[in-house]
Amino acid sequence: MKENKSIDEISSLKDYAYYIIMSIGKAMLKAKIFVQLKASVLDPQGKAVTNSLHNLGYNDVSETRISKYIEITFSSDNPQEVGTKVEQICSNLLANPNTESYHYKIEVME
């Protein structure tokens, strides 16, 4: 596998392991974080977008939910350490536990 292969093009675990090994020491890690309103919470922005989509003729749109997407770049190359930090960052600041849930993935930056 070529080192410059994009992470999105990697399909096998072997390629992924190779990618990580090649990247360690020079790579930075990026957390891609999604913060969403919980399903039980009304999303007025999503509702407005649904109405607009209906006006545009997309009548089969039944629901729209607006989320936040946040990218954080770390100068660390330790995925476990970064994972722990991202978890803390999400629960302490990025998401409000009363109304929002979150999920994320951590990727090696190209």
């Binding site: 919470v41 009304l42 007025p44 009363n98 109304t99």
Partner: protein, 228 residues
Amino acid sequence: MRVSVVTFPGSNCDRDAYGVFKSRGHEAQLIWHKDSDLQKPDLVILPGGFSYGDYLRCGALARFSPIVKEVIAFAKRGGLVMGICNGFQILTECGLLPGTLLMNKSLAFICQHQFVRVETANSPFTKGIAPGTVLDIPIAHKEGNYFIDDKGLKTLMDKDLVLFRYCTAEGEITDTSNPNGSLQNIAGICSFERNVLGMMPHPERSATDTVPSQDGRLIFEALESFVR
């Protein structure tokens, strides 16, 4: 009464609150958010505005200002804290009050006179005001849509923690008198210990002779009779 009004970057109602307390003969001071001394107040005001530009979520970043640590400690010792508008949002974000202020159902910034009904006299902020009293107090916000889960709502009701609800001029709680979609028309709540108040309406904007309504005075009078 000694009143400390906290100024965050982006606060814009701090001077209004400061002015009202000064005009009523109290010792008021403005406290910068980076300070760590509340200066021994009887009452702390977290004013309205747009702390930290409302970035991420309203009030979410103000929570990490140094003075907020002191405000939390003060509240835990039983000190009186009043959060107005953005101050209410900060109080929910820092965990002193339950629930969350979501974006208004209409998605619009609403700035208007609003009737609110006093729900209980059992708080330092409503002491002596008969439940059912209707107050005309302006609102000005985009994120005032109060939300709490069913369990939290039940606690609010069971413990009589809802102090103000949006209503008609006659004091009826209706959908049309709900400006922002708040659950059960909730406009203001207090903490379990009843010493922390969060409210979206601005009593400091209805407490001087130069404005059309002076109904906010009742809240300041209640505080004065409580602290004395």
